[in-house]
Symmetry: none
Subunit: 417 residues, 2 copies
Amino acid sequence: MSRTLDPHLELLTRLAQPSELRILLLVLDGVGDLTTADQPRTALELADTPHLDALATRSALGRIVPVARGVTPGSGPGHLALFGYDVTRPETDIGRGVLEALGIDLDLRPGDVAARGNFATADADGNLTDRRAGRIPTAECQRLVTKLREHLAASGVTDPEVILEAGEGHRFVLVLRGDGLSPALVDTDPQRLGAPPLDPAPAEGAFDTEKARATATAVQRLLTLFHEALADEPQANRTLLRGFSTLPHLPSMRDLYGLRCGAFAAYPLYRGVAKACGMEVFEVPKDLGKAVDAVAKRQDDYDYVFFHVKPTDAAGEDGDVAEKARVIEEVDRQLPRFLDLGFDVVAITGDHSTPAPMKAHSWHPVPLLLHGPRCFVDDCTRFDEKQAILGHLGTFPSRHLMGLLLANAGRLAKYGA
Amino acid sequence: MSRTLDPHLELLTRLAQPSELRILLLVLDGVGDLTTADQPRTALELADTPHLDALATRSALGRIVPVARGVTPGSGPGHLALFGYDVTRPETDIGRGVLEALGIDLDLRPGDVAARGNFATADADGNLTDRRAGRIPTAECQRLVTKLREHLAASGVTDPEVILEAGEGHRFVLVLRGDGLSPALVDTDPQRLGAPPLDPAPAEGAFDTEKARATATAVQRLLTLFHEALADEPQANRTLLRGFSTLPHLPSMRDLYGLRCGAFAAYPLYRGVAKACGMEVFEVPKDLGKAVDAVAKRQDDYDYVFFHVKPTDAAGEDGDVAEKARVIEEVDRQLPRFLDLGFDVVAITGDHSTPAPMKAHSWHPVPLLLHGPRCFVDDCTRFDEKQAILGHLGTFPSRHLMGLLLANAGRLAKYGA
């Protein structure tokens, strides 16, 4: 790939050198939380975490800022930053269509164009009356997707290849596979009622207008077929598409850092993001103990292991700080087993904060714990938001974590003589 | 010079204004250290430093990151960053040949091409059997360099001018001086045994291929002469060259900041780096008391004085934390004399950390003390790594120190109306 890297990543790539030392990155999704008048203690502060406390006492603490002060990241940028990428650069953008496809574990290939679909309702004049078709249940969505597939097969249209998968509720994923496709299309969802869906069309500033126009024509033909297939449906008689996108062309972590990387995650979205960075990915059980077993079996093949814990984020999204603390305690109980895996450098952090009082991702800095033979043992005695402020590592952008991990593993050469 | 500056340096240059206030930067080379299970206290924590403590109580503390999180700098980048340069930009790169030349106090001039040389051993077929000629002693190296000089003089080759100086052990420095030279040559050291030395050749992507080719031809002619001269040597019958480089074309600190800068250092490398930034340089005795005397004599000519203390780094490299603490105590004893020199703004820091447990330079942030009438007296009572975390100045890139020094000396105008 001839693409230029951002200067920081280019520097790390220049300095990267081999070493025997191995790295474990334990991501507690959305772990950072907030103190407010109504929630005086964060989940990390509430949790009873003897093992994390003991590790903090032998480690360096600090905080990372995922994208920039005040900027709330989605799961894609949150993780890509942890892996060292500058997520403000457009080439790291993971579009909504791709994210949706990764989220249902679709095997996306380079060049595939993915879009997120909604089933919707239009009136007799073709104007939208419900952009979510009355929020039909998932089973209904699956029936409709099967119907579309059958109609498509009967139509004889085979180029580009079309992959359709039902998602949750009214959502589905459309993937186009073939030569000469472009993701530079506008959404067909007009984002308002009383108007018809928009026609597929090249986006303004599309890089290759010719390809975009051809892709728009192919999508138009598909939508006409879908429309025919859904003509007799009382609710879901239209489809809306948005977030046309392809897998980002990211340089792999192996090429960047010389690391053999393994990703272990129970949820497909995180495996998808890891795969986009060139990691080998493994689906692990949701049971944390069994997931650690899975890592134990395969870890010897990797210099760098990314392990993803989802329920911290889910509890934050639910606004349930007690449940979030309970999940953290579960991680704490498994911590000795993680440490027994024998990694030389262990980092524990999150891809972003998901404060329970906000029930959503947020921009707040995320506590970071870094353990290794050269980490600088500071005075912190607990892994939580407030102690992290006082830690040796300070507060810095998430994308600089990779340099610290490599350095602590002896994997960065000296810069300049 | 028409070269563009990095935006931060350009900003400082735009805002720089005259003032009577004078700055002293005291660099304790490699002063930052590490706490580990085996070394629970750093050299700064171990040292008994009543004067530094008293100064810390009246000062602002903080920490500087030399290049980027996790990146370990060499002495060149470590110092250039303290002087305000963005050392990730290629024009600040100080090559190995130049560094070696500066290290033996060779009077390098702009345009001179310097290379680091090794005496080596080749077998009858010309294949290398020892890239260091059995690590010959320095005296032997000096004899060989004299022999090369004499052979060269006898050959009548005078263009480019050739300067040869013996270094330590098997090392020497070659400098070419003349018009139309280029440093863009590959190393002739193949970095392995069983192969002959490589021929001098233009490096891939050489900016001026014509010049690089002409320089390669000149070097080839020299190597042939060297080869003849060494034909009867049992061990050192070949020379290997690497790190062809010229002095970096840095804008001078006078042009950038309007400062008359004086550098006082006992070791030539640091004088060399300072000279590359346009400072006037003075060799001072290794005895710290006598070195302060030398500063006292010349300081009135300068707005900014850089004083370099080497033994903190040397003790770190030796893994001797007690010796490092002892050196710090020696600096502490001289501190009242430094302060009596009457500088308005005094900063004490390091170019990087050299933790005793690592016996090497490292990436860890370096404690910084800044004293001046407007420095913000924070709550820190000791100059050490842990208090520095909590200081008013926070943790920031080394290259931003220059702005703080200028501001504290009243040498930066307001930005914008």
